[in-house]
Symmetry: C2
Subunit: 240 residues, 2 copies
Amino acid sequence: MDVARSELFETSTPVACASCQARHGVVCGALSSGQLRELNRHSLRRKIEAGCEIIAQGAESSFYSNIMRGVVKLCKVMQDGRQQIVGLQFAPDFVGRPFVRESTLSAEAATDAEICVFPRNLLDRMISETPELQRSLHDQALKELDAAREWMLTLGRRTAGEKVASLLYLIATHAEPQTATSTAFDLPLSRAEIADFLGMTIETVSRQMTKLRKRGVIHIENFRHIVVPDMDELQSMTSA
Amino acid sequence: MDVARSELFETSTPVACASCQARHGVVCGALSSGQLRELNRHSLRRKIEAGCEIIAQGAESSFYSNIMRGVVKLCKVMQDGRQQIVGLQFAPDFVGRPFVRESTLSAEAATDAEICVFPRNLLDRMISETPELQRSLHDQALKELDAAREWMLTLGRRTAGEKVASLLYLIATHAEPQTATSTAFDLPLSRAEIADFLGMTIETVSRQMTKLRKRGVIHIENFRHIVVPDMDELQSMTSA
DNA sequence: GGGATGCTTTGATCTAAATCAAACAGCGAT
DNA sequence: ATCGCTGTTTGATTTAGATCAAAGCATCCC
């Protein structure tokens, strides 16, 4: 293999990432092996328990991370305590707000999770040096923007029942395929968190879930484990 | 001035843009004068009447645009006709979804507007050749993402009165300073559009506006023209 | 086992906002 | 002027979802 081919191969193929191991995030895939080695020297793999905050709303953060495993929720809270989940992120998403130090939202592990943490300064430098990385992060931002706008439609115009069905469908669609069938999954969110994602109350969430159960659209194995016999039927409940 | 200084100057300073004239958008500011000339050869300045669609939801679009003047609303509609405005854009914002041909939302002029239209293929090429442009568009995407998430909080957790106050405050904040005082502005949206932005009905919008009027927070000169005597008071109505 | 404790479900009631219905105001066309 | 036509306000009524309240059910600890 000549040099040109070799370099092309190294920059365009995910290279084993010591910190991230087999999983490759938005960041790792866009770096050359040299950059990856440098990033790895300064990055840290961390296990995060469900409920732990990764970034606090209003705080200055000096690091970014990649999700290796688990689900992270992005949350905004008002002074009086009302709160709204504004995004759910799954492996291998990137967590952080490029170009702005102060976070306007909090990021918190919804489930036990593993993240790969690296310093902000270093990645910012790499972004400015690596168009492919910029592009990769740009892509993720646009993907999140599409998701946020889709959710705005849900928040503004769907009924309680449609909202719950939309959430279940979203999670079923994004769940890690740990279970053999794609029709069973663990809910990464409590009823209270679901309420905060859907802009409603715990009680209404619960009532709508039992309504879906009684209609046979879902089976509730236990609070956190859901079986969906027919995904198309669930999808059809997301709008009239 | 030597060559190096001259080039630096040309790439880092907005260059007069024939099509866009004095106003410079996200795109123009990031291009070299050579690229700008090429873009100008293929771009078109267009006047758009209020209500005209720029991009249709679900359609493939072969162009992007910059807003020169006016307000553009981004809208999603469901099969049964329910609809939600998911973004408002003001001059000199960029309109279009880089990297994806099919639009998941429609863009429509909310007021009479002028836009600068240029071919998708050409700009896509320039994006890949110009890290500064990529960065500029990345910035705009992140800004829109922040705005979308802020609005999710409004949609999910604010009351009708708070929603209306939030919208008025948003518009007052982004309005072009055509009027001498920053406390008077034209509403770019009809009551129906406001309702679609806030996820509620026309009647509720109207009632909440008269409530604000009766409390003296706003004066309604006519349907479209609003005066805000005390901006801080308006802001305080956006949350309890 | 028997409490505590922390979710979750279920029930009864209330209310903010939707819906239904009418009147009103601006405006261009005849 | 008068007649539509469209967008807005106001009023009466209904309802989806919130709130208030209690009971069910796991899990952990003694």
